[in-house]
Symmetry: C2
Subunit: 240 residues, 2 copies
């Protein structure tokens, strides 16, 4: 690979929450790649609207699944690995020829991002540079108007895919929490939150910083968006 | 208050990691306020260099302490509360007269930021808007070249001010960790990391994204910078 791959954090959704560095690299990129779910345009690609050069070449990487399968399922792991291999090969082919390329990533690339799997595959082959971004969770707690962690709070980021008992246990071991991957795990998360005695403090935030965002008490949520939804438990509010 | 207070996340240190929204609001702000340690210029203020309008009015809020005192010390709590009261009054006086003001905040404002204490005081009095930023920890794990959390990892953010046993216990209850407030807690953090069996995986990162940044294995760190230093434990790297 002679070109540089720039893996770019695109922030939580509001296109104005791109960094100056991300905007500069996007304008200069002759090739941009991004992940998208089947039948959808791609969230990271949508954020890039208005930031790309005319005539840019686009590589759209469509996930083989539209909904989440248990991460332990061996078929899922194998098929995703094959998918990431193909994506990495497509990028490596462009980069071998010389020009730089940008891989767009929602939020921050190294924080639960799919781009990490291409980083692992491509970094040994040539120059790969990463631009951090505003994580989706920061967009959510900002829009909720709730400081998330103070002083010596422990903040845990917990995937909603865990079992109810494990969720409740993790919640009991921190002062503030962010639960990601809500979707169809919503009722289980609500049950775990009651079990941990935190139901009254928890907020449900959907599409934080996007035009159709929604912030409500968790107990009032009845159906969660499969993506871009999070549950927040703001930390201890000490007098200061 | 008739003016709007914009609390602006300034990112981890590299001025190009400001968001487009932050840069726009900084250029337009007639008044900017920021915290600084005694004898120092102020990290958030330094990031703003080159982004402020000519003739901007600056309010410098100097912390009453230069080193950290135990957060539970009643004198510390009382003196900091009085300090934040004064800062809030100074901003409220400017905002009462009409023009907007910007309060600069390192990293993300709602993530362990001092600005939260002014938000608490001023939001009841008039319009306060918050702009999320790239958190310092995202700058650190990006510069370390290490994806921090994958799949269903639990990531905990833990203050280094906790006792050694509590630190080790929290470390044992997560897959990936970020330890903030390292400074003089470094030897205790190293001991807790050994106790949790994580010493081999932990990295010490100082001034991530700044020109004089440093990334080394935690076990090789002998003296930590009092600020802008963090310890990272990257999560499980699963085959995918």
């Amino acid at each position: 690979m002679t070109g540089t791959l720039h893996i770019i954090g695109m922030g939580p959704g509001d296109p104005e929450l791109l960094t100056l560095k991300a905007a500069r690299l996007l304008r200069a990129a002759p090739v941009v790649a991004y992940f998208a779910k089947r039948g959808q345009r791609g969230h990271a690609r949508r954020i890039a609207d208005g930031h790309l050069a005319a005539g840019v070449e686009e590589l759209r990487f469509e996930y083989p699944y539209t909904i989440e399968i248990a991460a332990e399922d061996p078929r899922y792991i194998a098929e995703l690995a094959a998918f990431y291999d193909l994506c990495a090969a497509a990028l490596a082919a462009r980069l071998a020829a010389g020009p730089d390329a940008a891989l767009l990533c929602e939020g921050d690339p190294f924080f639960y991002g799919s781009a990490m799997y291409l980083f692992d595959r491509l970094a040994p082959l040539g120059p790969v540079a990463v631009v951090p971004g505003v994580p989706g969770m920061a967009g959510c707690w900002t829009q909720a108007g709730r400081p998330i962690a103070h002083g010596d709070d422990v903040l845990s980021v917990i995937p909603g895919t865990l079992e109810e008992a494990a969720l409740a246990e993790r919640l009991g071991a921190c002062d503030a929490a962010v639960i990601m991957k809500v979707g169809r795990n919503l009722p289980k998360i609500q049950a775990a939150m009651r079990r941990a005695g935190l139901a009254g403090r928890a907020l449900y935030v959907e599409r934080g910083t996007m035009t159709d965002e929604r912030v409500i008490p968790l107990e009032q949520a009845t159906q969660a968006a499969p993506y871009f939804s999070m549950v927040l438990v703001p930390g201890r509010q000490r007098p200061r």
